[in-house]
Symmetry: C2
């Protein structure tokens, strides 16, 4: 995309309404604009980020056999009356009346709807397990929306729901999803540490939150550094084997990790001091087993092997997709701006033309740009070099390809890696090879 | 995807609630399920169709320089009060109060919001023209939702908005978008005929609806067959040249085409009888120039070349993405079911294993399936051949690869083209080459 033609408005000043760094940088880098309290429009570069995150989430859900559907944003209140949650859910639920005075609501989550859809479709234990997910906008009417997309009201979430015949099978599904989550966050370029969460009346140990370290996080977190060193993409888990899944689960859950809510000082002191990590954490995912809570309350059963009706065991698995755009910035930035992980960046590189109108500089820039107009943002504006450098750092492209008149004469460009600040003078072809390789 | 493991529930019987063929087939082929009046969940195969349509729409919007954003579903009523439409818009607008008693609404369209976003960002005539679009869920509270996704309440729409400095530039933008629309519909495998629509108080000739012939269409249509014979993908229009665009516009708008609203018997009689096409039409797109209606009412201006403030000229350009899923079926089906155009089909082919458990049949099916698990639906169910054939026709995959024990011994499969019914016995490799080529 050519920056001179693009809808990518950067701001020089810090917007007064933004209290935290990710919110400030998302506004300044032209990713989002607020349209109402806690509600945002995603501008072209922001939408690319949102889509990159969604696609990685999708690929990892598909990889563990989850199937994507798309449920609507509005739901009938009747569904929630069947589960008994309609009255229990507080003022965060946005309740709506249509023209016929029928009660609707903007879905804050989809347990009821998916249980109903499942029940209309699946009648026999032979069709289990099933894992269904969607990536859809939700609404929670927060009392005080703040921190930009980190605590907005309309937000994009991936929520998956699993249906298993019995507890053992549900446990295996839960563990597969744990692996999918670890892989997802690692691919997104951040380390989200799984921490045991309160299971309330359900009991057991099958509830984990995933937190990213960030000074503005809502929880205190304590964990063993072992958890951020593991390469989950390289973890050879046979996801068809319950025994392999159990061993994997134990490897993940043995090192100490807890939010302040679940913190246990004795366990913490057992972690060698050099491996203790402590700070604030932002929740970006949550996986949760809740048994037959919804299938029973909504009376959704399948016929079992011996003909009797059984209530499937369920779990739910959320990832805050729009929140992640902010959380990744909280984890990946410096004083100059965003430092996008490669997999999430709206553009792989920005091409900085230091002398617009110079025949050679223009030709080199055009040549680079034409190789992949999707991957490159071409800063062809008639601005000073200083402005271009500052905007490039602010927007956080993984690579900057700097084209100036001196190097151009020798067919050279300067390649800067945003994350490290390293710069190298290289040929145009080498720059292209490096940038497009990742 | 393996059909035995997939959430793809076909129905043998015609659902009583469905009055038109596309609605019946979408329910029977397991594409959608109703979750509330006029509100649908998209099951995995339906979501693939929706995504295929969206992607083609997106590519053609990008091709004419439109930039994709994503505006939220909920809007502040204040925006609509600025343009004066809040009170004028009737009961189809879903009005909402949040917990602080602030007035929100579920966006039925986005002129106000985009004009506001544009005004926050673009300050100078130098940054024009701009075309912005998004593909987002909308809500219109229809009095009597019916015909499935053809007249639902929550629906997916692509809406684009253009901002130009003057009328001449706005006309060029309009004509570029006309070309994009003709290309889009042709790529989707249907012919949508552009017909001049009423421009109301704006006047002029810059409003066109795009209609697909379907017996259940809401309008009568009359047009010259020349309009469905043209290959718009092969039309070499220089979209940077106003003259080329004008010539193109004249070619498109010269042959007779009108809905009953705009029908003119004298013009119609001038069309040679053998080229007269008459029937019902479903509207799937609408492009509309409306000048400075919103920029003026919302006081959004840019500085002009001589320093004075100017109100940009706008147009809007809609495509009913979810409606198209139904409209394409209205245009593409027979008594046995859907006949998906290749570009829209959820799967390129179904693999029909006529003898599950037969070592050779299973091996051939698995071999074909493993070449591209995304492109193929593998019917591995323990069902009779007749059931598999009927479901394959119902679901409308462009190709059926039939694997039976007799052919299997010779390494042969039967390849059936859904649209024509043609069948050929071919080698497995030839089948793969044919199916994956398109």
């Amino acid at each position: 995309m050519r920056l001179s033609r693009s809808f990518l408005p950067t701001l020089k000043e810090n917007p007064a309404e933004a209290q935290i760094v990710s919110h400030r940088l998302m506004l300044r880098a032209g990713l989002i604009r607020q349209t109402a309290s806690g509600i945002y429009a995603w501008l072209p570069a922001g939408l690319k980020v949102l889509r990159n995150i969604s696609q990685i989430v999708r690929e990892e859900q598909d990889r563990v056999g989850a199937q994507e559907v798309l449920m609507p944003t509005l739901q009938s209140a009747d569904l929630w009356k069947r589960s008994g949650r309609y009255d229990a859910y507080g003022p965060e639920m946005l309740r709506i009346q249509d023209r016929h005075k029928r009660e609707l609501l903007y879905g804050p989550t989809n347990e009821e709807m998916i249980t109903d859809l499942f029940g209309q479709t699946v009648k026999s234990y032979k069709d289990l397990p099933q894992v269904l997910y969607h990536i859809q906008w939700k609404f929670r009417d927060e009392m005080r929306p703040r921190f930009g997309v980190m605590r907005g009201r309309e937000f994009l979430m991936k929520d998956a729901y699993s249906f298993d015949l019995d507890y053992e099978s549900a446990v295996a599904t839960y563990r597969r999803m744990l692996l999918a989550y670890l892989r997802t966050f690692q691919r997104l370029g951040v380390r989200a540490v799984p921490m045991r969460a309160d299971t309330g009346p359900i009991g057991g140990e099958l509830s984990h939150e995933f937190l990213i370290l960030a000074p503005t996080g809502e929880s205190g977190v304590f964990y063993d550094a072992a958890l951020e060193e593991q390469d989950w993409l390289d973890e050879p888990v046979d996801t068809n084997s319950p025994i392999a899944l159990e061993a994997f689960f134990n490897r993940v859950t043995t090192p100490y990790a807890a939010t302040d809510e679940m913190h246990d000082e004795a366990g913490w002191q057992a972690v060698p001091a050099e491996r203790q990590r402590e700070g604030r954490g932002v929740e970006v995912g949550h996986i949760f087993y809740f048994g037959d809570k919804y299938t029973r309350s909504m009376d959704v059963s399948v016929s079992g092997p011996d003909g009797n009706q059984l209530y499937p065991e369920m779990g739910s698995y959320g990832i805050g997709v729009s929140r992640l755009a902010g959380a990744i910035i909280e984890a990946c930035h410096d004083d100059n701006g965003i430092i996008w992980p490669d997999a999430v960046a709206p553009f792989r590189a920005v091409i900085l033309n230091l002398k617009n109108g110079d025949e050679l500089c223009d030709a080199i820039c055009e040549r680079i740009y034409s190789t992949n107009e999707e991957a490159f943002l071409y800063d062809d504006r008639a601005e000073r070099a200083g402005v271009k450098f500052a905007d490039a750092d602010l927007m956080g492209h993984p690579w900057q390809i700097v084209v100036g008149p001196r190097g151009a004469k020798e067919g050279k460009v300067e390649l800067k890696r945003r994350a490290t600040g390293e710069r190298h003078e290289v040929s145009v072809d080498d720059a292209l090879a490096l940038v497009l390789a990742g």
